[in-house]
Amino acid sequence: MPALKTTRAIGHRVIDAVWRLGLAARFLAMTLLHSGLSWRRFPLIVKELFSSGVMSLIIIGVAGTFVGMVLGLQGYETLKRYGSESALGSLVALSLVRELGPVLAALLFASRAGSAMTAEIGLMKATEQIAAMEMMAVNPVARVVAPRFWAGVISMPLLAAIFSAMGVFGGYLVGVVLIGVDAGSFWSQMQSAVDVRDDIVNGVIKSFVFGVVVTLIALFEGFDAPPTAEGVSGATTRTVVESSLAILMLDFILTAFMFRGV
């Protein structure tokens, strides 16, 4: 009975997904509960900030600049038809600050830092370092997971802000320096269109939420990975896939809440 088999397989998958969601929620609660140690021993967080934040700086900066440059080119081509090239600044800044900055920075962060976190923790588990910690009465969640979680949550909004700032710079480079849009109207239109509370603060809130979600998925997948070479590689793939989907779906929900149009 192939139909029965398919139904059973689908049901199994759904139950498994709900199960893992519950496990992830418990994992988050446990991480928050055992965060005390990492704040008392701040160097733990600093070390993880280096590997997830500082090491992502170059990719974030370069990607941001190029995204801004593309926005400048494409925006100019479209706005030129309506004779409103001077609105280029507001177009570039609004699309970066509201959407592209938080979302693209989070996607890059998931594939650059998130996958590394999963692989690292998965390998720690495969080589029984986690079990060894438990043997020494060291809580692996407090020692390994919590510092990485907080480092991810702190660095994500900062990286998104750097992405947006570099993007605006890239848009300026193409729009003003290369094409020759008037610099004064570029900046003044941008300033009159971008609101600090409505646009910039909402963008920061978005990237903060993405930071929590991406880091949680990466850590959970690593901690939950089967302790084999295949298991770790599968977990790393799942981290990138799941966190990318989560970012894009959450972005829609957050946007629907934030920008309803006054």
Binding site: V46, I154, L158, A165, S192, D195, V196
Partner: protein, 153 residues
């Protein structure tokens, strides 16, 4: 505390992130145009505000003198009541004319103030007596079509 090169890098990273936020707030956003100077409130009634929004600018002779703080519908007159915050440095005669204007063809709408010649000045909580509503393009086209139809007979 032991200092490591790691701390330096992380410090630089956090500094760069905060610097980017400050740049976004002041250079990209409108933080620099939020002036902390004292303001006073004035009210104006319009039959139609068009696309005017809160935080839209109030200009006189092209100079930014204040911002729109609230737009509500007055259910007694069934007109839009617009509250504007004007910088204390600028005083306007009581017969000042308030217009809703558009900057450019596709630009934002703002309130333009045309001062009159009255000796008395508008005080906090005062009201513009003479206003002109936003120009709605559909109405203009409608009038134009009626005129065309009338002239063609």
């Amino acid at each position: 505390m032991q200092r490591t090169v790691l701390d330096l890098w992380v410090g630089a990273f956090v500094l760069a992130g905060i610097g980017a936020l400050v740049i976004l707030a002041f250079k990209v956003g409108n933080m620099s145009t939020y002036n902390a100077s004292d303001t006073y409130r004035l009210h104006a009634y319009f039959t139609n505000v068009g696309g005017l929004k809160p935080t839209a600018s109030v200009r006189s002779a092209g100079v930014l003198v204040g911002r729109v703080s609230a737009i509500t519908l007055d259910t007694e007159r069934y007109e839009a009541e617009v509250t504007v915050e004007i910088d204390k440095r600028y005083q306007f005669p009581a017969d000042t004319f308030a217009n809703i204007l558009t900057s450019g063809l596709l630009g934002e709408q703002y309130i333009g103030l045309l001062p009159g010649g009255d000796d008395e000045m508008l005080k906090d909580g005062g009201q513009f007596k003479k206003t002109q509503s936003a120009i709605v393009l559909e109405d203009l086209i409608g009038k134009f079509m009626v005129n065309q139809a009338g002239g063609g007979k």
